[in-house]
């Protein structure tokens, strides 16, 4: 914190950042108490896109809630699909065929890459560089085409089913995916040369916007924010689900805890996701994509169930309370950006406005998922 930010000035003013502001990427409002360009206090104001998904869950059957999960985080919808089906499969004790598990992993990881590409573009856009966004979208477009062929939608997927996936993949999908990975592999050095090594970018991100591991713990931040503080916590490894234990991948961490560390973690995760997809494509077994014994009407036994997945933004958890009927009694969605944003107030104190916005961008917020 600078000397200026520490001196006690009474001349502060309130700056409303949002709900319509180019940097908030959605309808987030941050009430900033400013001292010149220094932030005294930042208070995120939520709820502008609150849809009460949890109440909707109580009014629908277990299966009918599936499309809602794709609308929480529109950038990595499949992870949220995955979290929900895992929870229900755990509750109803449904086994999933291996081929379906592999297809889930391939599509989820593709979705993670596309989510990180959007974040990459939008983050550099926050920093005033417009061009990388178009390049990232160029790559993402291919992922959307691939996933569209499989899932039938481009953004708000609803592809997974309790006990498998909605339909099998074509051989074209595998060749297309592998071709895409080859292309992205060739393009990653370009991104690093043009963006990561850019002197202005480095000056804006390095040693700025610290989110230490202890702060992450106090606020429950997970995902790249936590890994950017040096903690190698990844639900895919900590609580292995699906076929992740059979795949070889690393958990990228950077111990610095600054905006640059979070940036690098996400860039490394793109590489790791590519590795996972390649392995999953070669290991993909034949067989059914839907459990034959999967019940048509789901009535889980009474009790609590929890399932977590590693979404693109962190640990996404679903807590189910079943009363044995065909609708959930209570359905809690634990979304990662919610916890990641909650530390913004503390982390941004005393920062300059442009640095705080870089910090906010590096948290990778998706507002519908925070407001639910």
């Amino acid at each position: 914190m600078s000397v200026l930010a520490q001196c006690d000035s009474k001349e502060t003013f309130v700056l409303n950042l949002g709900p319509q502001h180019p940097a908030t990427h959605g309808v987030l409002r941050v009430k900033l108490t400013m001292d010149g360009e220094y932030i005294r206090q930042a208070e995120p104001v939520l709820g502008y896109i609150h849809r009460m998904h949890e109440k909707m869950g109580e009014n629908r059957t277990w299966a009918q809630f599936m499309p809602n999960t794709g609308r929480l985080d529109y950038l990595s919808a499949l992870s949220y699909n995955h979290g929900y089906v895992l929870a229900v499969e755990r509750a109803a004790a449904i086994e999933v065929p291996e081929r379906a598990e592999y297809i889930r992993v391939i599509t989820v990881e593709l979705n993670r890459i596309s989510s990180h590409l959007v974040w990459f573009g939008a983050f550099i856009l926050d920093l005033g560089g417009f061009t990388p966004l178009l390049y990232a979208f160029d790559d993402r477009e291919i992922i959307l085409d691939l996933l569209q062929a499989v899932t039938g939608s481009r953004l708000t997927y609803c592809y997974f089913r309790f006990g498998g996936v909605y339909n099998d993949i074509e051989p074209d999908f595998i060749t297309g995916t592998l071709a895409f990975i080859k292309r992205l592999r060739a393009r990653m050095p370009m991104y690093h040369n043009l963006v990561t090594k850019n002197i202005i970018l480095v000056k804006r991100l390095k040693d700025i916007g610290f989110v230490p591991a202890e702060m992450c713990r106090k606020y429950g931040a997970t995902g790249p924010v936590l890994r950017g503080a040096g903690v190698a916590y990844d639900v895919r490894r900590a609580e292995p689900y699906s076929v992740y234990p059979e795949l070889d991948f690393d958990i990228p961490t950077h111990p610095e805890g600054d905006s640059m560390a979070r940036y690098l973690v996400r860039m490394d995760e793109i590489e790791q996701s590519m590795r996972i997809i390649e392995q999953a494509c070669t290991k993909l077994p034949n067989g059914p994509v839907m459990a034959e014994k999967a019940p048509k009407i789901i009535k889980p036994a009474k009790g609590d169930y929890y399932a977590a997945v590693e979404a693109a933004r962190g640990s996404f958890g679903v807590r189910l309370v079943s009363d044995g009927t065909n609708t959930p009694y209570r359905l809690k969605l634990r979304s990662p950006s919610y916890s990641n944003l909650s530390l913004f107030g503390e982390a941004s104190r005393g920062m300059l406005l442009p640095d705080a916005l870089a910090l906010m961008g590096s948290l990778d917020l998706v507002i519908p998922e925070i407001d639910r």
Partner: protein
């Protein structure tokens, strides 16, 4: 590492003992594969803050706080999900309060991340967290006086 199991069986005996002192009945140790958590402890409403202190000292982080409305029993349950990022283990701490006066102490002094979760739970269930610095609506409109996740709520 087996799917669903893995290195996730370690919750130290010390932690179990510390929580057992606060529990109202015996802690449940469910099978992780079936339930998705490792330890389920029911505590008295007054004990949520000491329990949070225990979890904090053990290095856990707070995943979420949420409520469940047990209308038939005239009670509301507050569920605290804890998790550890280095030696994982999910611990669920739950406390029941009466529906007529749903009040229990805040843990936001221990976990500042609880500030928002408690505000959200207050929005949805009307559960009052005493000692919370600012229980204004978080996700609902700022003038909201209804609690949509209560089972007797009709729009």
């Amino acid at each position: 590492m087996a799917p669903g199991g893995g290195r996730l069986t370690m919750i130290s005996q010390e932690l179990k003992n510390a929580l057992a002192k606060l529990a109202v009945n015996e802690a449940v140790v469910p099978d992780f594969k079936d339930k998705g958590f490792h330890l389920d402890v029911a505590v008295a409403p007054d004990a949520v803050a000491p329990a949070a202190e225990v979890m904090n000292l053990a290095g856990f982080f707070l995943e979420a706080i949420t409520g469940v409305d047990w209308l038939a029993e005239g009670q509301m349950e507050v569920v605290y999900d804890y998790n550890h990022s280095i030696s994982p283990g999910r611990v669920v701490i739950r406390a029941r309060v009466s529906r007529a006066t749903p009040e229990l102490p805040t843990i936001s002094a221990i976990y500042p991340g609880a500030l928002w979760h408690e505000r959200e739970t207050h929005d949805f269930f009307g559960i009052v967290f005493t000692g919370h610095p600012d229980l204004k609506p978080l996700l609902l409109p700022e003038d909201a006086d209804f609690h949509p996740l209560r089972k007797d709520y009709t729009s």
